[in-house]
Amino acid sequence: MKDKAIIFDASTIISFAMACMYEELRKLQKNFGGHFIITRDVKKEIIDKPMQIPRFQLEGIKLQELVNEKVLEFPDVLGVKDSEINIGTKKVMDIANSSFVDNRGKIKLISEGEASCVALSQILNARKIPNVLAIDERTMRSLCETPDGLKKHLERKMHTKIQVKKEKLHFFKEFKIIRSVELAYIAYKKGLIGTKGKNILSSLVNALRFKGCSISNDEIAEIKKMK
């Protein structure tokens, strides 16, 4: 297996799980020939917590199976220790949660799971191990790609002026981010989707969207044309 990785945050795994795309994840990982990685903090959100709640226990069990089968692996498989990730996670959280400030103080935007994925990506970048982050939820992606857009969004929604400490946010520029819908598209193009049918691609994209993947109407129209 090659030293390359897709790092999944909880939101992306949850989209796949709730759309029942476990088999597609297995096939994608095999086809990828690298590692699908989750951090320990992400595991808490996608396996440990749902295991305690009857309504989501089945998802927890099925995701644990993916871990048992090594479809989803932990960072140590790439030689990264949890202690290194913990240090990085704290750093990412400190930066993210102190960069947007209103008249009452810092706005805390993210938690450990999301921060740990970014921390891991930074460690892999430093070691020249190719990697991308798979993030379905909007805030972490905006923080990395469009902090000005996030500022405007926060101002619009919170009805307050926000100051951004831009010098801190340069930290987030280096990360490459994809979503579950792009992974579904790749699975479709590679013939890895088990179910066949005329509208299967748009059905997959809509399923992922309604399970939480942030995608615009224009993008959905675009993906349908890309068939």
Binding site: I107, K108, I110, E137, D148, L150, I177, E182, K211
Partner: protein, 184 residues
Amino acid sequence: MKEVENILRIFEEAKDAINEGNTSKIRALSDHTNNTASRTQDPDNIAVAVIIYSISKFLERENYKSYPGWKKFYKNIIVYIDKIISELKNGKEVGGTLKSMRGEIENISGKLRGYIHDVFRKAEINKASKIYEHGISLEKTANLLGITMFELAGYAGQKQENYELEANEKSLKQRIKILDNIFR
């Protein structure tokens, strides 16, 4: 508790609206709590958001009023709102009272108990979805409300119709290219 004056106003207006049976006003007041809850992320402010929204839901459902225990339940709501207003006016912390309020109104016997519990749970998910809409991350929001990311992702996913790409956000094609490159 942050923004005490605003919260006091919300409880005072909610009390009037309850007396008038004006559920749409209570609902609107509940919307006013979203902003404070998102900005402060203070547990008491979040509890207020959940309680006010839940009250609007309890009162909207006419059939609840015929269930045994309703009168006691309704009385408890009023008693606790009065207590909270009084404590806020006297500069006291209301965290404990908010907790007792929820505990006591949930501690009801019979059929109503299950419904009340369900309304509170849905109120937590609804408020989480509002906080997520404000720009706080999915995981952070789920943790603030004590719900799972699965619950929040499913609920938030239903409300994605208005999602639009930000300027400079990577396009679908750019992301597919990133994936194509790493899959090679």
